[in-house]
């Protein structure tokens, strides 16, 4: 087991409401939905229409660019509504659940079947089963190209973002599925790297929240190949790759989240499209923030604890730094495994800049809260207005993949894409830290994400 130490990044310790390891079950009530708009780079073509009756595992849509890549229904019932957004993007495919849901059945396999079958058949099976989308490809983080043979596939276990599900929760009782999933990944790529993020905190023995059997010793039971230390986003596959790669060949490695490996294993073994998900939920309080076992495509409001009480709620899924927002009526996306409620920005702050800042969250030491480790409540406010870049260098000091964002930003501003690529634009893991720390409130990350998308488009058109 190699140890990878990531020095830069953000400790991510001072936001209140870290989900505890306590696990509760909150099933979906009445509706589930698929959210095609939140699957990057996919151009969906619908395979069903409003009013159709669907089962768990019925194909809902496929990717126009690669029609083999399908996305299946997370529930059985009536397809009640397809919600379109601007320019007819498909936002949401909503299904009203039947009391007794039917499920499509697929072939099931054992470990030795997987060893014996050809790579193409396995690929085809995962594509038909709606599993292929979980496999993504660096550096653009689009869905892996089934034709490509990657150097390696990375499986991040656990996250440096404490608001993402803990690996010890979703691996509990699922270790055999995880092992089968890893075996399947081994057939697809030469090497499978399991990169475990070791947060360094030992669970307390007498913690009443944690049942003794909830614990799984990742080091002993899973045997990860890499142990990752460091602040957010050290656990990201792109960051681990950046700190371990030896040659440019590795730039196109694949990655898949640990929880999705469990799903692949479960799908292969049971022959049923797996709809269980472990979601980390937080509303900023210690009492309500916990892990929830629920299902794919669940409505956010079904996840909230009844006691949750926030005056101006903003729902964030997929992480505070990397995700997107919605309201309680939105549904859980294909990749997302966390839901948070934070206070929406709503009131201007009187004499904000001269306040000592006991309760201001900041990576800098210009606020007094830097002196304490007390967790702080957060809101979605920018905490200032946009200003020109003054080259303070805060972004370069925090970037986990050693990009100097202020210069890359200026290169892109001047349309020097070659320069930006040289700076490491494609090594960018879109973690959001540069935007977070910027005192001039420049949306650096978003600027890089759009530049990367434009470059990806250029590459595709060039081919």
């Amino acid at each position: 087991m190699k140890t990878v130490k990531v020095k830069k990044g953000w400790p991510f310790k001072k936001i209140a409401g870290k989900p505890s390891l306590r696990t509760v079950s909150r099933p979906a009530k009445k509706y589930v939905a698929a959210m095609p708009v939140h699957i990057p780079f996919v151009k969906p073509r619908l395979l069903v229409s409003e009013g159709d009756r669907v089962k768990i595992g019925t194909a809902l849509f496929e990717d126009k660019q690669n029609t083999g890549i399908r996305f299946l229904s997370p529930g059985g019932g009536i397809l009640e509504k397809i919600v379109y957004g601007p320019r007819r993007v498909i936002k949401e495919i909503r299904i009203r659940l039947d009391d007794a849901e039917a499920a499509e059945s697929f072939d099931s396999f054992t470990a030795s079947d997987i060893d014996a079958m050809s790579r193409d058949i396995l690929t085809g099976h995962l594509m038909n089963g709606g599993m292929w989308g979980f496999l993504r490809q660096l550096p653009f983080r689009n869905i892996a190209d089934p034709e490509a043979k990657p150097h390696a596939v990375w499986v991040p276990l656990g996250s440096a973002d404490p608001f993402q599900p803990s690996a010890s929760v979703y691996l509990k009782d699922n270790k055999h599925f995880f092992d089968l999933g890893i075996k399947a990944l081994g057939r697809l790529a030469g090497t499978v790297h399991i990169a475990w993020h070791d947060s360094g905190s030992k669970p307390k023995k007498n913690n009443p929240d944690v049942q003794p059997d909830a614990q799984i010793d990742i080091r002993r039971d899973i045997r990860p190949t890499h142990r990752v230390r460091g602040g957010f986003p050290a656990s990201d596959a792109g960051v681990v790759l950046f700190h371990t790669k030896q040659s440019p060949d590795e730039n196109r490695d694949w990655f898949i989240d640990g929880q999705d490996v469990v799903l692949i294993g479960k799908f292969l073994q049971t022959g049923v499209y797996p709809t269980e998900r472990t979601v980390a939920f937080s509303d900023g309080t210690a009492e309500n923030s916990c892990h929830i076992t629920t299902r794919a495509g669940v409505r956010f409001s079904d996840l909230a604890a009844p006691e949750t009480d926030i005056a101006h709620p903003l729902w964030v899924t997929g992480g505070l730094f990397t995700g997107y927002t919605g309201s309680g009526d939105n549904f859980l996306g294909y990749y997302e495994t966390s839901v948070m409620i934070i206070e929406k920005s709503h009131a201007s702050e009187f004499f904000g800049f001269v306040r000592p800042g006991w309760s201001k969250l900041s990576n800098s030491r210009t606020v007094l809260s830097a002196l304490s480790s007390r967790p702080l409540a957060v809101d979605s406010d920018m905490h200032g207005e946009e200003r020109p870049c003054v080259n303070c260098g805060y972004c370069a000091a925090i970037c986990p993949v050693d990009i100097m964002p202020q210069y890359t930003y200026k290169s892109l501003y001047a349309d020097e894409i070659e320069d930006a690529l040289g700076h490491g634009l494609l090594d960018c893991v879109e973690c959001g830290l540069c935007s977070f720390v910027c005192p001039s409130k420049i949306d650096l990350t978003d600027f890089f994400i759009s530049a990367r998308k434009r470059y990806h488009k250029e590459l595709q058109q060039g081919v």
């Binding site: 903003l314 979605s380 920018m382 003054v390 005192p439 990350t445």
Partner: protein, 396 residues
């Protein structure tokens, strides 16, 4: 009470906002209205894109910390200016008299600098339709602190106008200037009005009308006095400039830049809060000490009395500490890469000593040294970025 003030102000801004709106009469002055409003209220702007939580620091807070760090040298400067003035006019050295005399000399300089500078800032913001930048709060204070107390106020205004317009706005405003605007302003008046900016007669402001200018040589001007080799320390001692006095800063000089001690206190605040680069500061001090030490070893002829002095005198005398702590660390005009910051600081220290020692025309060297290195900062950055890029495993 505090709450009432807040609500009252909130109403004032809400009521008057319409005058500055799209159809209002004062629409053109919107940036001014916003600048005033946001001093009182940081507006609620939701983060539209990830990340949905943003750092509590903004440019206002960033610049406020620099202003806070300027408080020790400013207060000391007011005291010192008053002290020199009262002492020179033969008055009784009472604390109250010293402070009032200092305030009467220093405050007009600062107020004129702010008013004239903000006039240009607002003019450019209105024409270019961009918000008024907080950076000027620092520039407008730094500049008068480096001036002699006898400076005519109209020259102060001309200088800051040059600094803001030619030093900053012609390049496109905040973040795009290549020279430090405060130093550009000072360099302008230094060359345009040498009689008011150099010599021995300008460093003490005497408030009694009718008295002739008081001569008070600054320690750095000792270079121009005839002196034999290796005698500067003795000469400085004779003139009452002990190392401690130079370090504390109570001697005739510019308004706010004489005290190395107060600059060190400010430096500490800037380094602890992480607002200014310790690399530039330490690099500069090392460069200054190393260069003056080496010159002391190798110079055998009596080049200049400052060539053979204990390096600590270089550190304590004149405005070097003020320059390296507050001027050289300006992130816009300095380099942004790590190693470059050390090199840039080192060269500033080195050049300061070289100018002081080898150029008899300039008793003080730090201003020219910083402006000269401002010019080289982009080159340092360019080289370091190229080296950094060469180290990466390419990903295209």
């Amino acid at each position: 009470m505090f709450k009432q003030l807040e609500n009252g102000l909130r109403r004032v801004f809400e009521k008057n906002s319409r005058h500055f709106s799209e159809n209002g009469k004062l629409h053109k002055l919107r940036p001014l209205f916003e600048a005033v409003e946001t001093i009182f209220f940081i507006p609620a702007i939701p983060a539209e894109k990830a990340p949905f939580v943003r750092d509590g620091i903004d440019l206002k807070r960033f610049m406020s910390i620099v202003l806070l760090a300027l408080v020790p040298p400013l207060f000391f400067g007011i005291y010192n200016t008053g002290y020199q003035s009262v002492a020179a006019s033969g008055g009784e050295l009472r604390f109250f008299d010293i402070i009032t005399s200092g305030l009467f000399t220093v405050m007009p300089l600062i107020i004129v600098s702010y008013v004239a500078g903000f006039f240009w800032e607002i003019l450019f913001s209105v024409i270019r339709r961009h918000p008024i930048s907080e950076g000027f709060l620092v520039t407008g204070l730094l500049y008068p602190m480096t001036l002699p107390p006898t400076m005519p106020l109209w020259q102060v205004a001309v200088g800051i106008s040059f600094g803001v317009v030619i030093g900053k706005e012609v390049f496109g405003g905040t973040g795009r200037n290549i020279f430090n605007p405060a130093l550009t302003a000072r360099a302008f008046v230094f060359f345009a009005y040498p009689a008011q900016m150099s010599g021995d007669a300008v460093w003490v402001a005497v408030r009694d009308a009718g008295t002739a200018a008081v001569t008070g040589a600054t320690p750095l001007a000792m270079t121009t006095l005839t002196g034999s080799f290796n005698s500067l320390e003795a000469m400085l001692q004779d003139a009452g400039f002990t190392l401690t006095r130079l370090f504390v800063g109570n001697y005739p000089g510019s308004v706010g830049a004489t005290s190395a001690l107060c600059c060190l206190i400010g430096a500490l605040l800037l380094i602890i809060t992480g607002v200014a680069s310790y690399r530039v500061m330490i690099g500069g001090i090392v460069g200054l000490l190393a260069t003056s030490f080496l010159i002391g070893i190798f110079s055998s002829a009596p080049l200049n009395p400052w060539a053979n002095v204990n390096p600590l005198y270089h550190l304590a005398a004149g405005g070097f500490m003020f320059g390296i702590v507050y001027m050289a660390t300006d992130p816009v005009s300095g380099p942004g890469t790590t190693v470059s910051k050390w090199v840039y600081g080192f060269f500033i220290g080195m050049l300061t000593v070289l100018i002081r020692v080898f150029n008899p025309a300039f008793p003080e060297g730090v201003m020219m040294a910083i402006l000269f290195m401002n010019l080289f900062a982009p080159l340092f950055d360019f080289i370091e970025i190229r080296l950094h890029m060469a180290k990466r495993i390419p990903n295209v």
